[in-house]
């Protein structure tokens, strides 16, 4: 059974249909990439999964449980963390306070402290800046903070929305290395990216979106060699 199943969802913004019947699944331990151009509906899908939007039709099943109608603030305690597009760290809070927010639903103080150590180990720069306001961090550091904050909930699956957006090529590589480490640590990853080349290079499988529909899916390495993908998304 798949860890996360999206079944035939349709999502509307007012009268406009953004998602026109999409189904896909994520298995435990996988890195899945959703790729596609701006406006294809990638972010909308993630928002639907974590309850920020509700679909008009279809359902979202997580570990066998229908979570379609579960409000967003109850999703994280089920074991699903969302790193939103544009990072959306709390600029007025310190790095440490942001990380504590990530563990908002957790109770056990020792466990939280343990996760915090783990996050600091993975992101040494966050530890150096733990008392700094998040708004004063650089874009790359904010991305690390957003990822660290999500990891603080100790999720089974982490969904990431455009983690490479607005970052320099060196930082993009760094962020993708970290995503691979997170995956190697046993967390399932659902990744939305415009940077198709990078996303396909670390993903197991991928789905290609065009204007609210999946037009292609399959093994990530195979998709990389697909002629239509090369032309449309990899600029070759």
């Amino acid at each position: 059974m798949a860890m996360l199943e999206i079944k035939d969802i349709e999502v509307y913004y007012g009268m406009i249909q953004a998602i026109k019947g999409i189904s896909f699944e994520v298995n435990e331990g996988e890195v899945i990439a959703l790729i596609g151009a701006n406006g294809a509906g990638k972010t909308t899908i993630l928002h639907t999964i974590t309850g920020l939007l509700s679909p008009k039709k279809g359902s979202v099943i997580f570990e066998g449980k229908d979570i379609t109608k579960v409000p967003a603030h109850k999703i994280v305690s089920l074991g699903m963390a969302h790193v939103p597009e544009g990072r959306r760290v709390f600029a007025e809070l310190t790095v440490y306070e942001n990380l504590r927010m990530g563990a908002y639903t957790r109770k056990d103080k020792d466990e939280i402290a343990g996760t915090l150590e783990m996050v600091y180990k993975r992101f040494p720069r966050l530890k150096e800046r733990k008392n700094q306001l998040a708004g004063t961090l650089s874009g790359g550091e904010q991305q690390m903070l957003a990822m660290g904050r999500a990891l603080m909930s100790h999720p089974k699956i982490i969904v990431m929305d455009e983690p490479s957006m607005g970052l320099s090529p060196i930082l993009v590589n760094e962020i993708f290395d970290i995503i691979q480490e997170v995956s190697a640590g046993g967390t399932t990853v659902l990744l939305v990216e415009q940077n198709a080349k990078k996303a396909l290079s670390i993903a197991d499988r991928a789905y290609v979106l065009e204007t609210g529909k999946i037009v292609l899916d399959g093994d990530a390495k195979e998709l990389m060699n697909d002629d239509s993908i090369k032309k449309a998304y990899l600029g070759e």
Binding site: P84, R88, R149
Partner: protein, 294 residues
């Protein structure tokens, strides 16, 4: 000596404005709405205290506690019945107009129950006046209690927001509701808590105000409400220290204006200062310039 006496009176009045302004500024910071019915909650709180003491013979402290509880519930009910259904409405004007409607509703309910006559409010403050400098300067018990309450409330609220989980959740919601939800924070619950705190403080402000200026009508809350709103904007709306600074400054300006310029012009002076501040610094004294990092 009269200068110092005016200054102390100004700080005392300003403390009341600051306590009311906290309600405006917290609700604005977290729900991004202006709750224009906030001033009338003050009046309701004062009527509850008056009725509990004069009608039911309660001891003053218990009556104040009852008013705080009553107003807390009232605030939460107003939020969930009148405002919450509109928070996602297309226009933020819908909430603003509703708030004005709630304001008139509260005034008219009070009018219906208590009538239009001015009721005299007997002070609930047991502290005696303090005579200083050989009797040249007297500070009333009400003044002492008002300023002390303001200090305690400010310190308590700051600690609550900085140290408690619910306080941190408030900060998170005020910055980014969506991201706060993703952390597992119940946004509606946090907004309700904000209304509860603001309304409890309004009850305290009502008691302090009516103890210092002992008359009560259904419109008692309206003008202090507007002035506290001005104080919140003055200090920088959304900022808690801003509410304190704005409130105190406004109180001092008002009393000095009355004492040295003209008692009829005092309100005009208060609003004139607001206009000047907003021309020079549109976000208020402690208001932040909103910057977006790309």
């Amino acid at each position: 000596m009269s200068f110092i006496s005016y200054l102390i009176n100004g700080i005392s009045l300003g403390s009341v404005y600051a306590i009311i302004a906290l309600g405006y500024t917290m609700v604005y910071g977290i729900a991004k709405m202006l709750n224009f019915a906030h001033g009338d909650v003050i009046m309701i709180g004062a009527y509850v205290v008056m009725t509990a003491i004069a009608g039911a013979g309660m001891p003053p402290l218990l009556a104040v506690l009852l008013a705080v509880i009553f107003c807390t519930v009232l605030g939460v009910v107003i939020e969930s019945v009148a405002y919450r259904p509109l928070l996602n409405a297309a226009s933020s004007l819908a909430v603003l107009i509703t708030a004005i409607g709630v304001s008139y509703l509260l005034q008219n309910v009070a009018l219906l129950i208590f009538g239009a006559n001015t009721k005299s409010f007997s002070s609930v403050v047991p502290v005696p006046a303090l005579a200083l400098a050989g009797g040249a300067l007297t500070i009333s018990g009400e003044t002492i209690v008002t300023i002390a309450s303001c200090i305690v409330i400010m310190i308590g609220l700051t600690l609550f927001i900085k140290k408690s989980k619910a306080g941190q959740a408030m900060l998170a919601v005020s910055e980014d509701k969506g991201a706060a939800q993703l952390m597992g924070i119940n946004v509606n619950g946090t907004i309700a808590l904000t209304f509860a705190i603001g309304s409890a403080l309004a009850a305290v402000a009502g008691v302090l105000l009516c103890s210092a200026y002992p008359s009560l009508t259904p419109y008692t809350g309206a003008m202090p409400g507007i002035k506290a709103f001005v104080a919140a904007v003055f200090g920088g709306i959304g900022s808690i220290p801003g509410a304190l600074i704005g409130g105190i400054l406004l109180g001092v300006i008002e009393i000095f204006g009355k004492a040295y310029i003209s008692s009829q012009m005092a309100d005009a002076i208060v609003f004139g200062v607001l206009i000047i501040v907003l021309i020079v610094k549109p976000t208020g004294i402690l208001g932040k310039n909103i910057q977006e990092k790309v």
